[in-house]
Amino acid sequence: MDLDWTAEDLAFAAQAREFFESELTPELRDAGRLMTSVYGDHDLGMEWQAKLHAKGWAAPHWQVEHGGQDWTDAQHYLFERERILAGAPPVSPMGIHMVAYVIQAYGTPEQKAFFLPRILSGEVFFCQGYSEPQSGSDLASLQMRADSDGDDLVLNGSKIWTTHAQQANWMFCLVRTTRGLRPQQGITFLLVDMTTPGVLVRPLVMTSGETVQNQVFFTDVRVPKSNVIGAIDDGWTVAKYLLEFERGARGYSAGLKVRAEALREHARTTPTPEGMLIDDEVFASRLARLMMKLDVLEVLEFKLLAGARDDGSVGALSSMMKVLGTELATEMTELVYRAAGTTGTVYQPHVTRPGGAVPNYTPPEDGGSIGDVWQALAPLRYFNERAGPIYAGSNEIQRNILAKRVLGL
């Protein structure tokens, strides 16, 4: 056993770091550093993706034949870590990190040839249509109907929590093609051109003011059956395959460690009635305890990484990482919000990225902030991070899964 990266790994990390240093403009760094949720600014994200694509690094996880890199798991981990340390924005996940794997695994040659290069280039930008108003974590209960009509499926219904639906030109979604079977059966995995007549996007305003989420309405939307991935009625198989990727995809420790360090720095200059916040032993102990947990979390991620090398999958333990990671992330936002004090109660979403128009909010003319920038971000991150224990299978559902799979209950 050892916890040290190999010389090759370190050289790789240095190479990635160098790339980030040279390619990141101040604007792109802001796009990474002023995020308040897991979603970055769309335009800047696409600009960044183009730079990555030029280097061949837009989708390193992909199969090499489709434009991926032949990296080890450790290299993938390090690449993502260096990205976070550099403050680069993330690539929007729905295309590159989600549907692309499905297309690679279940797509027809035509689907692969059309979509994969365009996802890489940004020409095709996907959103995800899974959840429905009456069907959240329980995907099997989804209702949106797709009726067969010749070579087409005709869609009627609604999807919700559709991130970036305003910007997306394609959606991958689950629709119900046959009723009366077991809930998991009769579902189909489908790609929908968002410009098809009958598609209507309504933004959802979040507590934080963020509007990346949407509800999408479908009224007699005709989609050619050639856009089905896998077989009609067999979408559950495809969805399950993807779910594994989604749960296992993220490491949490690197990003949280960056935030902990930042909080430590901010606390050095944040005044209290008795000195600086960092001198408050109770606060400093809270921060220390959280940093200690992150040190442990990092080793857990390394263990999973090592395990992944063995059998090629991250297994049920990814549910555990999702629970732990999102709960530590919410704890982090709580501590930062606490540190921000009264100043943290001022609403100033214009300081963030994406910093576009927020419904019913007029930013100050000078664009400045009350208090420090981190204090402006604090409540918005706190609000948005509450999504962590809810999305991608709520933590309650993850614990159900763990009880079954890991404890055999």
Binding site: T207, V282, G341, T345, Y347
Partner: protein
Amino acid sequence: MNLELDEDLRMLADSVSGWLKQYLPFDRRREMRGGAAMRAFWDEMQGALGLAGAGLPEAWGGFGHGSQAHMVVAEALGGALAATPYIEAAVTVGTLLERLGGQDELGTALAAGKVVVLGWEEAQSRGDALSVLTEATLDGDVWRLTGTKRAVRWAAQADTVLVTARTPRGLGVFRIDGDVPARDYRLIDDHPAADLLLDGTAATLIAAGDAAAAAIAAAVDAGTAAVCAEGVGLMRTLLDDTVEYTKQRKQFGQALASFQVLQHRMVDMRIQLEQSAAAAILAALRGNDPAAVSAAKAQVGEAARYIGQQAVQLHGGMGLTEELRVGHYFRRTTAIENQFGDADAHTRRYRKLKVA
């Protein structure tokens, strides 16, 4: 000992709640944006109920019910998520003026619903009203104030703005007579607020010295006690909505409310609510004891976080949007955590008073 509300106060509670139910349905509250609209709502409510005077002395035209009235009114306001200057004006400044004495003119205005606010919080103060860096210096016979007051709620909508400042005689209370140099904004809970950018700003001294400092501390503690009661109202609505939602909403073919884990979660929310209601009583009835007020605020601050978070969690994604009222209430409970000092600040004060 008696933990039942007197008849007068029960009627007060019913009349405020009843009026809010009728005139502030949530759809109206949701569309109420900006300080001007909120001030207009306050004036409307005051016109209908005269509630500003509920806790204020009869000499000012109030009803003289004191801190128990503050508790009852604030809890009702919280229940409906009403955004009003009640706590800032009637409670905080009301207590300040009463403690200072000889302020009948301002007091009478206050009891009639005028909005008088006190700018006391600064970047470093974090709930400690006696931590003041703003300086008052005498320039001839004019006091001039320099310093920044942070997040002064309702300052731009106020009829009168008071501020705290250090004087050679100790902590003082001043009235700003001319234009208030301010940068206004809104808070995460929609309430209007402003930074007061005092830079040699002329002001009138109202009081200074130990008695003034004691009055300031008492005023802020009274506001703290009232915000505890408001929190109870907020949390009660959040819990009610959550119980109702989980009864309706189905997952895996069952109502969410049928899952034991969620049942116990809601029980824990309920226990926190009961503790908070007791805490609000403690703060209202023992408002002269800073340790009691701190015990209450720490309880309510932590409960507000827990109940707010769990209400959102049990509503799923919908709890994070502006679609349902839970998200709006969550913004207010979140603000309450840090308003008037957070749980850590109050634990510190209690520790110094009672432990070491």
